[in-house]
């Protein structure tokens, strides 16, 4: 598992990268009440706002962590946004993105580095 400064986790699944938000982020957001996902086949660039996530406290975006094409989204989150709080690093993945070269993942933080970030 790799991590971004934007509190996303990235997991490789075949030639895809699965993206979700960390437990730290889910806890900080509080109870999630709304999730809006991108359309499948959307081509995204790193930093694009791809997901809208709203908690009882605030609205936020999830930014695309890398360039690629969205090939699958987790519709369960739209129907049950609370899943983000219940299982942020498992069942509550947001989207899967196809990238040209999986070696770009080397640039992201590993678990120890991320834990240092969140202190």
């Amino acid at each position: 598992m790799k991590y971004t400064k934007e509190h996303e986790w990235l997991r490789v699944e075949g030639d895809l990268v699965v993206v979700g938000i960390t437990e730290h982020a889910a806890t900080a957001l509080g109870d999630v009440v709304f999730v809006e996902l991108p359309e499948v086949e959307t081509v995204v660039a790193e930093g694009d706002e791809v997901v809208v996530i709203e908690s009882v406290k605030a609205a936020s975006d999830i930014l695309a962590p890398l360039d690629g094409e969205i090939v699958e989204v987790n519709q369960k989150l739209v129907d049950n946004p609370a899943l983000v709080n219940e299982d942020p690093t498992g069942a509550a993945w947001f989207f899967k993105v196809k990238v040209d070269d999986l070696s770009v993942l080397d640039d992201f933080m590993d678990e120890d580095e991320y834990n240092d970030l969140i202190g």
Partner: protein, 396 residues
């Protein structure tokens, strides 16, 4: 700057704050600060104070607990003020009345009423609660406005009364359907109080100033406690099985579901009480033809709006779907005409849907009117609805 998760998390996820709070160089700490932290309170700046926005249970659970059992709120940041007459209660009541479109003189002893200070253009300087305590008035005002309110009262009322800020007491609110059961275990006689009654009742040898009121839409009490006994009393309430501590986050969603205004958001110096739908707070005595009609700041605008209707109205709004519409969302008519703005909005945990309130032009304010709110560039349907969103359970 983006709106990515990191910037939100770095910002401490505080709920809406006034500019005053943001600019304040030093935040004040509540007397119960250590207790809040010990209870898992996440402290954020609000109205110049470090306040618990939530505890470990989180906003959703705290909100629902308050609707089904009882919630304890520390509202000690609010301003408590005594108006002590210099020459009789009536002169003070009439002086106070000259600042508000509200019947003060007609308020019976032992009763509390909602009031609002208006300015010369009919806008609202603050909303407040005041009580007739026999030989004096007791006033509770919003934290962000309290310095201005005290200066305002001192300027206008010094001829008839002493304006005395109460600084040696904290204020707690116990709200919810089981608030009576919990508080009555400590002070049995609170059970006999009705909505908006006030009483001075003893606990552990000190006088508590209690009103049966609150700002959640639920039955409950607000309790002014000497600082010397504040922590002990708060802990005694928290020991009751019904009671859970509730932060500002749930306080905001509870009052929104109850259709109650948050000063600085839903009402301010530009909104009149009539536009805000607070005409129930303007008793007959102060209206045209009443015993003491007019004679308050902004009377010409407020009385003419009462007669002819205001140009815009505060309304309840139900967004379709699940996307919350928050403060600042622009509202449009079906033909694209801009007709208003959301002033408070979010997710209502008890109604299990997004809810909002805001102002729309009077022609579009009828219940059932379908309008659109613009969220992230998309116009999404929303319907004007009656408030409260959640039925109130006051014990009248």
């Amino acid at each position: 700057m983006g709106r990515g998760l990191a910037c939100l998390i770095d910002a401490g996820l505080s709920i809406r704050q006034t500019m005053g709070a943001v600019l304040a160089e030093e935040l004040r700490r509540l007397a119960l600060h250590d207790l809040h932290v010990a209870l898992g309170g996440k402290m954020v700046p609000f109205a110049g104070y470090e306040m618990p926005v939530q505890y470990s249970a989180g906003v959703m659970k705290e909100h629902l607990h308050c609707r089904t059992a009882a919630g304890l709120f520390d509202v000690s940041h609010m301003g408590q003020v005594i108006l002590q007459p210099k020459s009789g209660y009536e002169a003070t009541a009439l002086g106070f009345e000259a600042l508000m479109p509200v019947d003060v003189l007609g308020l019976a002893e032992g009763r509390q009423r909602y009031g609002l200070f208006t300015n010369d253009s009919g806008g609202i300087l603050d909303d407040l609660m005041f009580a007739n305590r026999g030989d004096h008035l007791f006033v509770v005002v919003n934290a962000a406005c309290k310095a201005d309110d005290i200066a305002h009262m001192t300027r206008h009322l010094s001829g008839v009364c002493e304006v005395i800020p109460v600084t040696d007491r904290g204020l707690l609110a116990l709200q919810g359907p089981q608030a009576e059961a919990a508080l009555a275990r400590l002070i049995p006689s609170v059970a006999a109080m009705r909505f908006m009654d006030v009483a001075v009742l003893a606990w552990q040898g000190v006088d508590l100033w209690i009103s049966r009121s609150g700002y959640t839409g639920e039955d409950g009490y607000e309790i002014s406690v000497p600082q010397t006994h504040l922590a002990e009393f708060a802990k005694a309430l928290l020991e009751q099985p019904e009671v859970m501590p509730i932060g500002l986050g749930a306080r905001d969603s509870l009052r929104l579901e109850a259709g109650l205004c948050l000063y600085g958001h839903d009402i301010d110096t530009t909104t009149s009480p009539v536009e805000a739908g607070l005409t129930w707070a303007i008793q007959k005595a102060r209206r045209a033809g009443g015993a003491r009609a007019g004679g308050f700041p902004g009377a010409s605008r407020i009385l003419s709006e009462l007669a002819d209707g205001p140009e815009r109205r505060r309304v309840g709004l139900r967004p379709e779907g699940r996307a919350p519409m928050r403060e600042g969302v622009a509202i449009f008519a079906a033909d694209g005409t801009p007709v208003g703005t959301v002033t408070s909005g979010g997710f209502g945990p008890s109604v299990e849907a997004p809810i909002a309130m805001g102002y729309v032009a009077a022609a579009y304010a009828a219940t059932g009117t379908v309008l659109a709110g613009e969220v992230r560039g998309k116009k999404l349907p929303l319907t004007i609805c009656d408030m409260p969103f959640q039925p109130t359970t006051y014990k009248r």
